[in-house]
């Protein structure tokens, strides 16, 4: 309790000192403002990217295994997969017959073609041949019209479902349903428009809004069957763990491909989590670099505060002498200056935070959905106070160690 009274006094002096030197304080806090603004914006941007990514990736389904020739995320030598055979459509049928437990199995293939409606062209669009089962694999659904049906697949219908960006590019605001558009050289009828997935196909990842879905049968007819690789999506039943089910899929695929025990798999099993962890690795490094850079700006701001605190201590040398002469202990003087420096930094931090809210507003308006979360606010506040304490420590320590007589004599 006793310690409390001089602490309250220290806080009072600190606030009075800041009030008395407003313009100096403003200049000093500028470094902290910029530092906190940078830190918060970095973290918010990273968060926003992460959310966009997760939203995008959720299209893949968390309980779906994707069998393909190459892994999605390649570590090491890319060319080791060169000699692998493509997956064939009939392997998908065999797998379906063997994996009775699977909820659904969906073969798909893709190609890049220009799509065209009247004079509107979109180059390099990803055309995906798939089946009605696609709807079981993903969370995304058509916003308008319908998806491909088994009927479309069976009768090789020239119909397509387009992504939101394709719709916007080719049809603008006009109705797309039942319009005929060109995919490559062939004419397809639009039967559905997918809902928007997310704005960014960043890091070269797939942009789900720039895709066009067609029945796999008409796809192979239009774009060829020979040398075409397929991917097989296998939806795991809810009662088994994905890891166990993966063993099952591997086992059946090895049987289908007649691999001897000594032979390595000549196919890869992918799942959403691999992309997530690959993303986390990449993002972790980017965020780290971002934080180091912004940390440097905060450090520079902290140096500015330290400098001002030295000035403050020197200016108040006589006052420190008076306080010590009438019984202020070292801790009381120390806390007086630590309060001053951390309050300066806290004010800077709060201003930085307010600016960061503005910047985040701009980001979410023009770039991607982003918002400042409560933990980020807490971190920003904590970091700014910490910066204040750290940069005030040496000046405060110097003040607390002053000999009362020397301090009183200071002119």
């Amino acid at each position: 309790m006793k310690a409390w009274y001089d602490t309250a006094e220290s806080l009072k002096i600190a606030l009075a000192a800041i009030k008395a030197n407003k313009s100096r304080g403003v200049l000093t806090t500028l470094g902290i403002v910029i530092g906190i603004l940078a830190v918060v914006t970095t973290m918010t941007a990273a968060n926003g990217l992460g959310n966009t990514f997760r939203e995008n990736i959720s299209t893949l389904g968390s309980d779906v295994l994707y069998v393909s020739r190459r892994p999605w995320v390649v570590t090491g030598n890319f060319f080791q997969f060169r000699n692998r055979k493509n997956l064939e459509l009939k392997e998908s049928k065999l797998l379906e017959r063997r994996l009775r437990r699977a909820v659904a199995i969906n073969p798909s293939s893709n190609a890049n073609r220009s799509v065209k409606y009247r004079s509107n062209v979109m180059e390099g669009t990803t055309i995906i041949g798939t089946t009605d089962k696609h709807m079981l694999m993903t969370a995304s659904t058509p916003e308008l019209g319908r998806f491909i049906t088994s009927f479309d697949v069976r009768f090789k219908k020239r119909v397509c479902v387009i992504g939101s960006e394709v719709k916007a590019k080719l049809f603008g605001n006009a109705d797309a349903i039942n319009k005929r558009m060109k995919i490559g050289r062939d004419s397809y009828r639009v039967i559905g428009v997918m809902e928007q997935q997310g704005s960014a196909g960043f890091f070269g990842g797939p942009n789900f809004d720039r895709q066009v879905f067609t029945p796999i049968t008409s796809f192979t007819k239009s774009f060829g069957h020979r040398n075409r690789g397929f991917n097989i999506a296998v939806k795991a039943p809810p009662e088994v763990s994905l890891a166990d089910f993966e063993y099952e899929v591997i086992g059946e695929m090895r049987k289908i491909r007649k691999l001897r025990p000594a032979q390595d798999d000549d196919f890869s099993i992918n799942q959403m989590n691999q992309l997530v962890s690959a993303y986390n690795n990449v993002m972790g490094v980017i965020v780290l670099i971002g934080l180091v850079i912004t940390g440097i700006s905060l450090f520079v701001g902290g140096i500015g505060v330290m400098n001002i605190m030295f000035v403050s201590v020197t200016e108040r040398t006589r006052e420190i002498g008076i306080r010590k002469a009438i019984g202020a202990k070292r801790r009381a003087i120390l806390s007086q200056f630590l309060f001053e420096s951390s309050t300066i930094c806290l004010i800077g931090g709060v201003v930085g935070l307010v600016l960061a809210f503005g910047v985040t507003g701009l980001i979410s308006k023009f770039l991607m959905p982003a918002s400042i979360s409560l933990p980020i606010v807490a971190v920003a506040i904590f970091v700014s106070i910490l910066t204040g304490v750290v940069s005030g420590l040496i000046p405060a320590f110097k003040a607390s160690k002053l000999n009362p007589i020397d301090a009183l004599r200071y002119e």
Partner: protein, 237 residues
């Protein structure tokens, strides 16, 4: 609460030269004594007061305050002694410019850990003793020199310390104001405090019952006046 310094020396190192501000000074001052310290400029009066007031530590020698060896104490222990046992009045007042009269006087209680309610009572009492009740909210810059010194005295006695030290308390004041200040010290002495003050002025020294003269950092004379009424004649004639 007797003060006893034994063979106290204070040496300042000025480049290669050593300044001996105090040289093996030994003095004992008993409770409720009224002591004036005199001597020419540079004789070590302030140095001795600072040692007695625990503001400074001697280069060598011992200082016992109420039986406790002060010369072995650390910074914070000395701060506590200054806060609890000693009230110090400076020639240049040494008030905190931004703080009000009330807050200046209250400050030793704040650092002494006295609860706010009790603090206000003690502060008001101390301000009452120097008759500044109507100046409580003023800043030091809004006061006359004599009023400032009264604030400083109120601050020195707010904690009811046994010992009041004053280094030339009237040095910056005219003689009439100086007499007012000395009247306050006389009252404190009557109330039982030990008073030690440094002065150049005979009229001021006249208030004390013992006069210690320093010269070149040594005690030149140490005289006790038996009858306060005739002190002037006896000591200074």
């Amino acid at each position: 609460m007797a003060l006893r310094i034994t063979d106290v020396s204070k040496t300042y190192q000025m480049g290669v030269e050593e300044v001996h501000a105090l040289q093996e000074v030994s003095i004992t001052i008993e409770d409720n004594e009224y002591v004036a310290i005199m001597g020419p400029s540079g004789s070590g009066k302030s140095t001795m007061m600072n040692v007695l007031g625990c503001l400074d530590t001697p280069t060598s020698g011992e200082y016992h305050l109420a039986g406790e060896d002060v010369s072995k104490m650390n910074d914070d222990q000395l701060a506590e002694i200054r806060n609890q046992k000693i009230g110090f009045v400076f020639q240049t007042f040494n008030l905190i410019p931004r703080a009000s009269v009330f807050h200046n006087v209250e400050l030793p209680l704040v650092y002494g850990g006295v609860a706010p309610a009790q603090r206000a009572d003690m502060t008001n009492a101390a301000i009452g003793k120097v008759a500044l009740e109507d100046r409580k909210t003023h800043k030091p810059s809004e006061l006359s020199g004599g009023q400032r010194q009264r604030v400083a005295i109120a601050r020195a006695l707010v904690n009811n310390p046994a010992i009041i030290l004053a280094d030339e308390p009237t040095g910056n004041l005219d003689s009439v104001t100086g007499e007012e200040i000395m009247a306050i010290f006389d009252g404190l002495h009557k109330a039982g405090n030990t008073i030690i003050l440094v002065t150049h002025e005979k009229d001021v020294a006249e208030h004390a019952s013992r006069i210690i003269r320093l010269k070149d950092g040594r005690v030149e004379s140490d005289l006790v006046t038996q009858r306060p009424e005739s002190r002037f004649g006896e000591v200074l004639a």
